[in-house]
Amino acid sequence: MTIKTALMGAVASLAFAPMAFADGHEGERGRDGELRIIYWQAVSILNPYLSSGTKDIDASALVIEPLGRYDSSGNPVPYLATEIPTVANGGVSEDLTSITWTLQEGLVWSDGTPVTSRDVQFTWEYCTAEGGGCAQAAKFEGVTSVDIVDDLTVTVNFDGPTPNPYQPFMGGQSPIIQAAQFADCLGPRAPECTDANFAPIGTGPFVVTDFRVNDVVSFAANENYRVASQPAFATVVFKGGGDATAAGRAVMETGEFDYAWNMQLAPDVIAGMAEGGVGSPVSAFGALVERIEVNLTDPSPDLDEGIRSTAEAPHPFLTDPAVREAMSIAIDRELLVEIGYGQAGRPTCNLVPAPAIYASDNTGCLTQDIDRANALLDEAGYMDTDGDGVREMADGTPLSILYQTSTNAVRQDFQALIKEWWSEIGIETELRNIDAGVFFGGDPGSPDTFQRFYADVEMYANVFDGTDPQSYLGAYLCDKAPRPDTQWQGENINRFCDPAYDALWQELTSTGDLDERGRIGAALNDMLTKDSNVIIPLVDRGRVSAHANSLGGIELNVWDSELWNIAGWHRISE
């Protein structure tokens, strides 16, 4: 099977998405034996409030569930709640300052105790407790209180009109945890509750039977799961470690595993593996954009720590929009897609390429134009004065940049290609790649994290959770810049700071009308990309995973955890 047919399969399954639960496959719980999942990053904890790693969030999705999730088209669907509250059904207050959820009746935890609104309230308390270091605190931003109405009803109050109230308790990042289990784990004690963090009691289709840190998690079907015929699998082995290639091989070539996450491999490699015939790749497009982030501050090691890569030291030439624009239009995005992603990617000029209402019709960067890039630089006064092929600034500083990304074959190919194009416009590039664990690890002590940004440009992909880009775009506010006094935490890694942007974003937060939100969102997107080229989007990446051909019920979801519907996965006979 080639990648093309695989993708067509994926598209086909998208079409049937709403029928996921109505799948004809029925039977008794645990009938299909063992499900084997491989993630090339190993799970280190099963509490998404203590880790932002996708692997940890995805693995905990087997056990703990939110009130509602997004389906594969990005529409909210109820999970623990009876329905998604809206203004129309009265769940969301008219002034957009509160949302009221109603839990399904008869829900029980895997230990048999009932799920109550207290658990929901507790979850909020848990994440917002002082000193808890909650990794999902952003989800609860603006929440002033969570009030228990009755045993099954709970109201979330916001500090102002919140047009998108589906942040708390929605999606894989904010599932409901059991109040009883985590009662003693509030605040600074959160990390100490190893037993709870490693084996949370949940409502999901599976319960943890064995947890080996950074290695393998074993699950068994939850006997108390609310759908009697689910899950189809009696046990799950969730193995971690290694690399994407080996994971892909284990699923598509040797058939040892049923599902592999995030096949970020060159299209020809994936195609080669799919020839193995036991598994296929599956992909779906969301808002995942591979982009180059430009550092507006000076990362030079000559600068003292504390000044280096902070707003105190503006970058000598990357602060010039002309340079950034030239860098952007020198790139042939079509070719990047061809080399790196094939049909699982498409060129883009937007930071927010989806959902459609937020997507700007920005196509200016799609055609590579080396000549215009050169002209731009000439105009801006960067000339190659010493004839070494590298342009210099007026003071003789060469346009020489350090281009950093995580270690990954496709990214290294991108680096090589982009380096070549940039050299054609007289910009010299030094490449560096850092192990993904370190690069995305967020360790404040490491100089190699993407937040620390000790490089001139860096490349990675990011996406927002759910369908609303508000908080995603909010990442580029002035005060979100990582600095030494924030322990280098913060999402605004470019150190972008534009009062106009900040003001426009504030407007977004108080706008409820969807079309208007779309317009403002697109405008914010353009301020970062088209207008300033602080962010140079490259490829709108489909998410690619691989599953065994005998595994049914897979519906790749880019808006939530990939394993969102694992309760419905089952074995099919081919």
């Binding site: 290639t245 491999l265 060159a266 020809d268 490699v269 080669g272 090691p301 000559d302 070719l335 080399i339 350090l402 270690t407 074959a409 290294q412 190919d413 680096q415 090589a416 290609l417 380096k419 070549e420 030094e430 490449l431 560096r432 790649n433 850092i434 192990d435 490491s446 100089p447 190699d448 000790y454």
Partner: protein, 313 residues
């Protein structure tokens, strides 16, 4: 017999004897031949094959080696890319040469560094009794350190300052070479120390002492030349180890930047496509293995040739 007009013969260095013995070790001679060949290949090859190894040529990507035509007439081949090209169209032959230059350079310099360090510490420990305990405990200590964390810490600590001082490529080169060098000298030091201890008991050292030769000249004149054979043997092993270690570093993502080919990296990068493009792993794999093999055989031959017991036969 004591005719004053007779003048001494030309110095026929004992190296000739060693060479004579060395020549009898077939493996070593083949090894030496290969090492010379591969060295010339990476040094002079780029002069003859003037293709930029970093040059991307997307249109001609994924070319097969020219010999593929022998069994697969439909293979995408071109005389312009005799060993084919990779997925970005980079010429594999040129990359092998460039990668070989770096691998060999890393190998040789790291080996020299570790041998110099090992010899220095070994000789000092063996010769000066006072330093012996201290230096050997230090050696044990370094042996006890797990190398990988050490390498990682070194990378983090010194990468930027070296990059600033020597430029990006030289900086990382120095870092890798130093990292390999300072983590692989211990064996040499132990062997050298043992030999120096034995040499110290030899009468010619005593004889030199009876002349009043000071320690410095004692070491340079009498000790060092006589520990040369274990040093040379550990040097040949060190070269092989350095090339291997560099490729292992590439595997762990600690090696050179991605646009800086080495044999280890080319091999590592091609493992994913091993089934479709076996030549991309075979050639760098062969280069590494054969070089290491050659060097090991040379080491074997040298050990035999430098051993007077064997040479005397």
């Amino acid at each position: 017999m004591t005719d004053a007009t007779q003048q001494p013969d030309r110095v026929r260095s004992q190296w000739w004897d060693i060479w004579d013995q060395f020549k009898t070790h077939r493996g070593a001679v083949i090894g030496l031949g290969f090492l010379i060949f591969i060295t010339l290949f990476v040094l002079l090859g780029p002069l003859l094959w003037q293709v930029d190894p970093g040059k991307l040529d997307i249109r001609n990507k994924d070319m097969r080696p020219i010999y593929t035509i022998l069994w697969d007439s439909e293979a995408k081949v071109s005389w312009a890319k005799p060993l084919g090209s990779d997925n970005l169209g980079r010429d594999i032959l040129a990359n092998l040469m460039q990668g070989g230059r770096i691998s060999m350079a890393v190998g040789w310099t790291a080996m020299l560094l570790s041998v110099i360090l090992g010899t220095l510490i070994g000789v000092l420990a063996g010769y000066f009794k006072r330093l012996d305990g201290l230096l050997m405990r230090f050696t044990d200590l370094v042996l006890a350190l797990p190398l990988l964390p050490l390498l990682l810490v070194m990378m983090l600590l010194f990468r930027d300052s070296l990059r600033a001082t020597f430029g990006p490529e030289n900086g990382i080169f120095i870092l890798i070479v130093v990292a390999i060098g300072i983590t692989s000298w211990m064996q040499t030091a132990r062997i050298v120390r043992g030999d120096v201890l034995a040499l110290k008991e030899r009468e010619f050292v005593l004889a030199a002492r009876s002349i009043g030769t000071p320690s410095r000249r004692m070491i340079t004149r009498h000790i060092l030349p006589n520990v040369l054979s274990p040093i040379m043997v550990s040097a040949t092993l060190g070269l092989a180890t350095a090339i291997i270690t560099e490729s292992a570093l590439s595997f762990l993502g600690l090696g050179f930047p991605s646009d800086f080919p080495t044999w280890g990296k080319i091999l590592f990068d091609s493992v994913d496509r091993m089934t479709n493009y076996p030549e991309r792993v075979i050639w760098p794999g062969l280069c590494i293995s054969l070089t290491v093999l050659a060097v090991n055989y040379i080491g074997d031959g040298l050990r035999d040739a430098l051993d007077p017991r064997i040479r005397g036969q």
